[in-house]
Symmetry: C2
Subunit: 366 residues, 2 copies
Amino acid sequence: MNRASEPTRIDIDLGERSYPIYVGAQLLERSAELLGSVATRDLLIVTNTTIEPLYALRLKSAFERADRRVSLLALPDGEQYKTLETTSKIFDTLVAGRFNRDATLVALGGGVIGDIVGFAAASYQRGIDFIQVPTTLLAQVDSSVGGKTGVNHPGGKNLIGAFHQPRAVIADIETLATLPPREYRAGLAEVVKYGFICDLSFLDWIESNAAPLRERDASSLVHAIRRSCEIKAEVVAQDEREHGLRAILNFGHTFGHAIETAAGYGEWLHGEAVAAGMALALDMSRRLGAITQGDADRSLRLMQKLELPIAPPRLGARRALELMGMDKKVLKGQLRLVLLKRLGEATVTAVYPRDVFEQTLAEHFG
Amino acid sequence: MNRASEPTRIDIDLGERSYPIYVGAQLLERSAELLGSVATRDLLIVTNTTIEPLYALRLKSAFERADRRVSLLALPDGEQYKTLETTSKIFDTLVAGRFNRDATLVALGGGVIGDIVGFAAASYQRGIDFIQVPTTLLAQVDSSVGGKTGVNHPGGKNLIGAFHQPRAVIADIETLATLPPREYRAGLAEVVKYGFICDLSFLDWIESNAAPLRERDASSLVHAIRRSCEIKAEVVAQDEREHGLRAILNFGHTFGHAIETAAGYGEWLHGEAVAAGMALALDMSRRLGAITQGDADRSLRLMQKLELPIAPPRLGARRALELMGMDKKVLKGQLRLVLLKRLGEATVTAVYPRDVFEQTLAEHFG
């Protein structure tokens, strides 16, 4: 890892809600310095019990050295705890600690922690500041940009939440060293996604750098994270509230949600479900003639090279359809899908031949 | 009541979040017509078990006649149910009914219903539309403008919430006919408040019309509601997120919160606590020389004429101070107060002689 170098900075341009993302090594120690005039008062670091022993004290000390009053809360680890009840625990801690409107929440962990803490920040006293310190690749390339926060409901994922932008994101790539291989690979799924939907040359770059990426090479990681954040930021800046374009970021996700929900939260990692979901979306795009058989083969090969799953469980086409029905992307009764127009460009559409959709489901879900 | 006349319309100007308030008689029946292109799809009317038998079917039928699919949910009545758990029930109903992002929540009831339903609308699928149909005077003159939504936490009122503007407000003054006298008078407290903080000539008008107002005269009510909404709208438009000026709307509320919290939610009605709180704020403003003894006497006489309480319970100055400490208006460790600069003009300040503050507390709280 290139320890001595300065962090890469990406600026997310959202008017008065703009914020910087710092990507690099050994950033936890420099958090207070990087944040500057942000989060200068009371802080509550919220993490999970897996991350706590690894990084919480390092981050806490960094803030304490800069004279912040810092408290720490460790939640149980897992998507099954991404609930309103868990959010309530954060509220309880904030109230008990008499945190005021000028307090800042710090989300130290993966996407689950980021989503819960962001929602708590959006709702406590009708909105306080929060900082993201993502410790998984998925969170660094996806959850840290876009301002979507929320928790799950037994009836569906992310059904309760808010749009709330962080004041800053600190992505320390050294935290990825302790990430279990499955989780790391699940993060790569979202990296590839950006290539599929927006940037053919980035897809080329990923292909050429599949080996160093798989091996968590530092400079490859910094580039992959930066380019992913840039692409997501461009899309989000054009459509912050997901009225249209932004939905392309859900490439593979509609099919993926069915997989995750059918398996029960946590059995398939989000990124794994997205990978298998992208395989379906690629296949449907091929059936519609938008991409060639060669494009599809190449795409699947790349995902396999990154050791990503490309086959969903055989849960049956009917069950899959049912599970997609409660997906948030159902608009005006019609199921909108994210499909490719060509490799490197996605589109959101509710206009497609029903039989091709059903053939795709039958082929992959059984 | 002037049944035949057209409703008064007040436009709340908040850029792309602008919305109209309709004030008048027999508006429930005309809801769909008034809303026009708003709330044209699936609706969930959320009310409480007290309001349901009085007005829910009338409103539901009005929407059904206009071909909306309408569902109904009645929550238990009372401030003690203004919780995250109750909000969860709304989410459960929305998920079970497969309501999508284009659904609209309709809050039929007083401030409690408006606050809970507004927060549910802000959070369901990260924000759906909602309509306010306030059935109490307090809700018609206060909760329906400003976009504050939220629920209570055992540690304090409104600690969990969001800013979320309704798409429209329908204030049918006929719903006030069934309001218990205490609740009606509590609403008048907020009406007088607007006179105290912003508009001396409105205060004069209230003095001259105290008798018809107390008797719920229709045309007096329409004027009082309209002028109250206009004043609140002017203040909110200048400071939607309560960074400064907007806090003047909390005149009497900081002291009032102590009263409400000490007594347990529901024992003192919000408006009653605000009235007694305003008596304290008026007295402190007099002690500071901002208003005359004559102004203070006149103000208290007006509140008595409207049969509002002007003496808080003797809970002790120390306990009161403690209860005010968790109030959201504590900024940077200092207790900000809303005081009068003169009768008809308020200011928010953290700069005042501590001894005068303590004398005021000792005098009124014991």
